[in-house]
Symmetry: C2
Subunit: 349 residues, 2 copies
């Protein structure tokens, strides 16, 4: 583990998610094996978490438990979560803000986590607005997509910031040295789209990521893997992510019907099963679990509330990648270079 | 055929598309069988189209050929297409504007078709902006999605107009008596999204389609078939359509790899093939060929440029549905009712 200057690699919200704290602890049992040198600050109800932790030897070795008397429920409004000082989510976030931990992973209420993280951990001074990112599958490897809904209205500056943050994230999370970047649009021609995307494209072309910038891409380019980092506003990104997931689900459901529709089809399924299982494993949503709030003074990863131990462990993997590879330093570096270049280059407006 | 008052049901651009005029004529051969009482005004180069038409007996019986000396190429800018008076696309559109034909089907240049149709056929007086719509598959039957890119920036009024046009279109194209309508958003809660979608939702709730309006839906609801008509702005709709198509393509490509990856997998494919073929047929993009420009004083259907005869015939089917079921009268009726209701109800703003 890189020296992050914090006592704990990550603070973990033990009470967030549909089957907390059991799934969270099972996930940490897996994470402890993958990251034996990590130290986790586990925050939750002592009575409920203590015994469960003691029964998981590997997790118990890497976790310190901190009591939190309250829990942010799944339907609590962000404003109400902000007033609740004793929740496991809040105390975990406080630990990040205080520098005790380099980041937080929570499977709890998304809106509450985003609001608390923004207000308590705070946005990096270089950045106007944080963005929500995720990794998804494509025909040519994993792809980073952002923003997924942190900002429903964005201007050109926000889109440029998302590109810089996405670039840094693809380096640490996908291990790429020069990720390619595309701006989602309704056509790949330079004249297409609205003023916002055209202005963002102009700034990116002139920036230090100019050689990585592939210009405009379209919806089908996401799963084609045309670029490593897909940049868009939070409204479009949220719809694109959920539409893509919906289309894959439709196909999975229909295939299930196909393979149970007749005796020969069932037999065919059994014969093709090893290959189909490899496909299922490759597309496993748990492998892509974890939405990452980029641009705060600490690493913030939201695990899906309904995931299992493997999914939660994957969310911890993403957060650990960001902590050990100094994600925030890379963002700072990116913005310093953007600012330096902008001083030299004529303003695009 | 309903009496549409026009000499021709449809004008057909014989020269549009990758393999025109052959594919167009093959498509009309199929269409002539399905719509024996229709009359088509076929517009194109007499020398190239005349002989090809003579060889297709059924098509020849329902088509009248009109000469057009020029062709709008696939890469021609809309502004250049507007200046070209002798193109097959232009002469076909002129026939609609003159009332000779009730609509046009073209597999040519999309941007040129949209620009020409808007300027020559003109937008209905009730409507601010036309919208591009398409039909796609879902787990619960076919779904209408609009706008797909005719308007990259939309306000609440445009979204409401799209809902009214989508409602009328779902009635004639899907044969539904009370189509359900959803507004695409980043969450289903009433407070989610931007001012635009919230204002549109408020107007729709109070309108004559209020009982059909299901409120906000999310990306995954499109393929889940939560509603019959999905309403969104042209930027989001274009990205959603292409992202969904891309995800389905990824899955098809991966399945092809699965079923050729080993001898047992190949054998499994052969056993499951009848059921897999039914699935493929059901999801066949040709069944969903045809993007419809709604809100003009005539029916305008754009066939995919790379489709085959079956796909082109399907685009003709959609246009014929709209012509014979009086689509534009239904839209007018919808806007009259919207205006009437709005006079009675307090303004939402």
């Amino acid at each position: 583990m890189a020296d992050t200057g914090s006592a704990f690699s990550l603070a973990i919200d033990a009470m967030g998610g549909d089957a907390a704290p059991e799934i969270v602890l099972d996930g940490l049992e897996l994470a402890a094996e993958r990251h034996p040198q990590a130290r986790f600050l586990l925050v939750g109800d002592e009575a409920r978490v203590g015994g469960a932790l003691a029964r998981r030897k590997r997790a118990a070795r890497v976790c310190s438990l901190r009591h939190a008397p309250e829990v942010v429920s799944g339907d609590l409004k962000p404003t109400a979560a902000l007033r609740m000082r004793g929740s496991s989510m809040r105390i975990a976030i406080d630990a990040v803000a205080a520098g005790e931990a380099s980041g937080i992973v929570s499977a709890g209420n998304t809106g509450a986590l985003m609001a608390l993280a923004k207000i308590v951990i705070k946005t990096m001074p270089e950045i106007d607005r944080p963005a929500l990112a995720a990794i998804g599958p494509s025909a040519r490897g994993d792809v980073v997509l952002l923003d997924l809904g942190a900002n429903v209205q964005c201007d050109a500056r926000n889109l440029v910031e998302f590109a810089i943050m996405g670039d840094a994230f693809a380096r640490v999370a996908l291990g790429l040295t020069t990720p390619s970047i595309g701006l989602l649009n309704v056509g790949s021609e330079e004249l297409k789209g609205d003023d916002r995307v055209r202005a963002a494209a102009e700034i990116l072309r002139d920036s230090h990521v100019g050689t990585q910038f592939r210009g405009f891409i379209e919806g089908h380019d996401i799963t084609a893997g045309t670029v490593d980092v897909v940049v868009t506003d939070g409204f479009t990104g949220n719809v694109a992510l959920k539409t893509g997931e919906g289309a894959l689900k439709l196909m999975r459901d229909l295939l299930r019907q196909v393979f149970t529709s007749s005796v020969p089809a069932r037999l065919g399924y059994l014969l093709a099963r090893p290959a189909l299982d490899r496909l299922r494993e490759w597309m496993d949503p748990r492998r892509y679990n974890g939405a990452i709030l980029l641009g705060l003074n600490g690493v913030v990863v939201k695990s899906h509330g309904g995931t299992d131990a493997l999914g939660f462990a994957h969310a911890v993997d993403v957060a650990m990648d960001m902590v050990t590879h100094g994600y925030n330093d890379r963002i700072k570096d990116g913005f310093d270079r953007l600012a330096g270049r902008n001083r030299l280059a004529p303003s695009p407006n």
